[in-house]
Amino acid sequence: MIKLNVNGRAATVDADPDTPLLWVLREHLGLTGTKYGCGIAACGACTVHVDGGAVRSCSFPVGEAKDRKITTIEGLSHNRSHPVQKAWIAEQVPQCGYCQSGMIMAVAALLAEKPRPTDADIDAAITNICRCGTYQRIRKAIHVAAGFSQ
């Protein structure tokens, strides 16, 4: 049994501590907003926050998440009110949408650290893959979100 704190709530899960956090979130806790894309920390579809920092949960054993604060896309806000979500809707960013939970979590972590990122900051920090190619709107929406947060 592993005790977790996910989206501000305590949860106890019966999983092998080696199990990637991704699959515990999706299957044990039913939080399917976090996606599987590669399983090797190469695409970012599974990005969540652990103690506020962006983590690729496919490569993060649930055992290490014990006693740490985990936030998933479902816990980012109520009613899509986080500045990044608002910007994503305003700019109509998603296409298929599959990568977008991970994108939004990666961007939220970036903005928490750098409220006014430059394009170079964005290039360096947002390395998630979007196969639909929504990058141009992502860049724009990041700047919009940075404006909302002021």
């Binding site: 590669c38 190469a42 949408g97």
Partner: protein, 730 residues
């Protein structure tokens, strides 16, 4: 590989040609009831009435619009639902959208086959959806008029209610829906003459759920009592599973059962991780036999040999290219493109429950009818006992037209008699894709004394892209519809599209293909033949322009006298990119033009090359996709398409003795944000029939970039990926 004759040459085959158009009289208004509606209704307590196959109205007045087309980010379900909603005088936010299970009413009228692809959702369905919305409106109006005992004239709709001519009394849609559903469907419903949405960018209905994690993709389906399955098939194509330790796997934590399939093993467990871990530790021994295909030698040996020896099928012969070449200034070049994987962000997956003589499937699929037919073949159940519930698709790009993953899931579901979700690992997804085939082209052109092309001859060595997607209903009896079947060559035109209907006035043209048979599965991939062929054609036109010492835009213009739409996009892209102005220092520009998917697109790339690093600084695109239904959705398709085109310049799948070598995103790297240039999209004002935008964007991008590289460095790139030319994207 099977080759079969078409079942019905006179009719279906004619419809299947790419340029076939929906003839006026072909429209059938269908009042079909949606199969399985009884158990499909999300809220069985809420009675609904069906007005045609496309509109359901609840007693409470709620309106549900049925979507034939799958949503994979191309926005089609918004555009088509809005067309129906407009005709009902409802804003899009007031209607719910439900994806249809298979029924004949939802077939694409051009191919008479239910699928989503080929960028034809708009051209096939937009007008039909307007008519269906109008039909539903007239039925509601008639029912209300009958209730009031007045004539239909003067009865109007607004805010989800029907208004009496007296301007005071109103009825809700829900109050008359049951009566309306009993009326005959109008055969010639009158469309609104003031539809509000065309021309404006709509807020896509699916976006809110895609920013809060609630959007349901196939991989997210959860059912009571559901088990999870992982699969591992031969890492080498064509190998079989010879030995395994299934019995020891069964004692692993959580494992419920282990199933042997011909070339692999499926493990069913309580959780996906348990299934996947058990498989990873499994001791699987593969047969020594398998595909010997190696890409390192394929171009020099297999492809090159066929390029010289054939045999060839002639897809186009206009004038005589060979006599026009005699004595003229002649240019010839060989181009090649690699295999590509679809690599949808959501790997293949499917959920199924087969029990009590019924089969339910939850699938992210573009190919509903094929999946339905395959389910009938696998389960032996009659079609009416099978229902396919579609989820959103985490990318499709053609991969999800196929039903191999559905079939595999059904095998597992039938074995365990419980709901099962089967998820492919990324490695499985890359190893068992149906790849965009590698191609080898020899293209030759002849110039007259002014430098204009008077002949173009094109020889293509390419596997078929249609082996798995050619509508099965048109083919003879095939036991397993997931198997490859080669259609008659005459109709197997995807390998040559874009070059059999290119826009330039060239009097003598020849297009021949050797249809290469490989033991590597090949199929359609976003841009089908248009993408690779445009790279060849437009790079070569640039070579001709250089040989004629002409400006690449002016040269193209001089050969486009008879194609107004092509000229329009070329002129627009030249203006918007500042073609006539000098490039910024260190940069150079290249242009390419494409006619594809019922539209036109031109691109200008501005690049710089330093130390073998290719940096695309700016991409300017001009598009004529016919009447623009939604500029927001169209622009996002074109921009995303441009990224797809750039990605395809750096990705490839290679094979070593039948083994695909790029199994994950560490080795197969699509473009990332930091490599993406500013992409400007400009639309030509057009009244032509709406065409597709989903696959149009990528088409001219590789040629425009490579032509810019030539302008910058003098280096011609005739083979992709660009790593073959010693370049990589900065």
């Amino acid at each position: 590989m099977n080759t079969v004759k078409l079942r019905d040459r006179s009719n279906a085959a004619v419809r299947f040609t790419r340029r076939a158009v929906l003839r006026g009289g072909a429209l059938v208004l269908s009042a079909a009831i949606i199969p399985g509606e009884g158990h499909a209704a999300p809220n069985p307590a809420k009675e609904t009435a069906s007005l045609t196959a496309w509109v359901r109205i609840g007693r409470d007045g709620s309106v549900t619009v049925i979507a034939s087309q799958s949503e994979m980010g191309q926005g089609i379900s918004t555009t088509l639902a809005a067309a129906i909603a407009d005709e009902l005088y409802l804003p899009l936010e007031k209607v719910a959208i439900a994806f249809a299970p298979f029924a004949p009413a939802y077939r694409d009228p051009v191919y008479n086959w239910m699928f989503t692809g080929n960028s034809q959702g708009t051209s096939s369905f937009y007008q039909l959806m307007r008519q269906m919305g109008a039909a539903a409106r007239e039925m509601l109006v008639s029912a209300a008029a009958a209730r009031w005992g007045v004539s239909v004239d003067g009865v109007t709709l607004g805010n989800g209610r029907i208004a009496h001519p007296d301007g005071r009394r109103t009825l809700s849609f829900g109050a008359v829906a049951a009566d309306a559903a009993k009326l005959p469907v109008p055969t010639a419903p009158k469309l609104r003459d003031d539809p509000p949405s065309p021309g404006g960018a709509l807020r896509r209905w699916d976006i809110p759920a895609k920013v809060d994690g609630s959007a349901e993709f196939g991989i997210d389906v959860r059912l009571p009592g559901m088990l999870l399955a992982a699969v591992r098939r031969a890492p080498r194509l064509g190998s079989k599973l010879e030995k395994h330790d299934a019995d020891s796997l069964k004692s692993r934590p959580g494992v419920v059962t282990v199933l042997e399939i011909s070339d692999g093993l499926i493990v069913v467990a309580r959780t996906y991780w348990q299934a996947k871990r058990a498989l990873e530790d499994a001791n699987l021994v593969w047969s020594a036999a398998g595909s010997e295909f190696s890409s390192a030698t394929a171009f020099d040996q297999v492809y090159a040999q066929r390029l010289s020896s054939g045999p060839f099928f002639t897809h186009l012969e206009k004038g005589s290219a060979s006599s026009a070449m005699d004595g003229a200034t002649k240019l010839e070049a060989t181009y090649q493109l690699p295999f590509e994987a679809h690599a949808t962000m959501e790997p293949m997956n499917c959920t199924a429950h087969v029990a009590d003589g019924r089969c339910e499937i939850w699938a992210p699929t573009q190919g509903v009818e094929l999946a339905q037919a395959v389910a009938a073949q696998v389960t032996g159940l009659p079609p009416e006992r099978i229902i396919i519930r579609r989820t959103l698709l985490g990318g499709g790009f053609g991969r999800r037209l196929l039903a191999d993953f559905v079939k595999q899931t059904l095998v597992a579901a039938m074995a365990v008699k419980q709901p099962v979700k089967l998820i492919w690992s990324r490695e499985e997804d890359m190893t068992h894709d149906f790849y965009r085939p590698a191609v080898l082209h020899r293209i030759a052109g002849a110039l007259d004394s002014s430098g204009s092309a008077v002949a173009l001859s094109h020889r293509v060595v390419s596997p078929s892209q249609m082996l798995y997607i050619f509508p099965r209903s048109m083919l003879g009896d095939i036991k397993d519809w997931t198997e490859a079947v080669a259609p008659p060559e005459k109709f197997d035109t995807m390998a040559v599209e874009g070059i059999i209907e290119q826009p330039y006035d060239i009097a003598n043209q020849l297009v021949e293909q050797h249809r290469l048979e490989l033991d590597i599965p090949t199929s359609v991939w976003r841009t089908t033949g248009h993408g690779p062929n445009n790279f060849v054609l437009e790079c070569f036109v640039d070579e001709l322009a250089a040989a004629a010492k002409r400006d690449p835009v002016a040269y193209r213009r001089s050969m486009l006298r008879s194609d107004r739409r092509a000229l329009n996009v070329l002129d627009l892209v030249a203006v918007k990119s500042g073609w006539d102005r000098r490039s910024p220092s260190g940069a150079a520009r290249g242009v390419a033009l494409a006619k594809a998917f019922g539209g036109y697109v031109a691109a200008v790339a501005e690049v710089s090359v330093r130390n073998s690093r290719l940096s695309v600084r700016r991409l300017t695109m001009a598009v004529d996709c016919g009447r623009l239904l939604d500029p927001g959705i169209a622009a996002s398709n074109i921009q995303g398409g441009a990224v797809w085109g750039l990605s395809a310049m750096q990705t490839e799948i290679t094979f070593e003795r039948g083994r695909p070598m790029q199994l994950n995103f560490d080795a197969f790297e699509p473009l990332r944000l930091g490599q993406t240039p500013a992409i400007e999209v400009h639309f030509v004002a057009s009244d032509d029939k709406p065409g597709g935008t989903g696959e149009l964007g990528p088409v001219p991008v590789p040629a425009a970039v490579c032509n810019a590289v030539y302008a910058a460095t003098g280096q011609r790139i005739r083979a992709l990926p660009i790593s073959r030319a010693g370049l990589s994207f900065a």
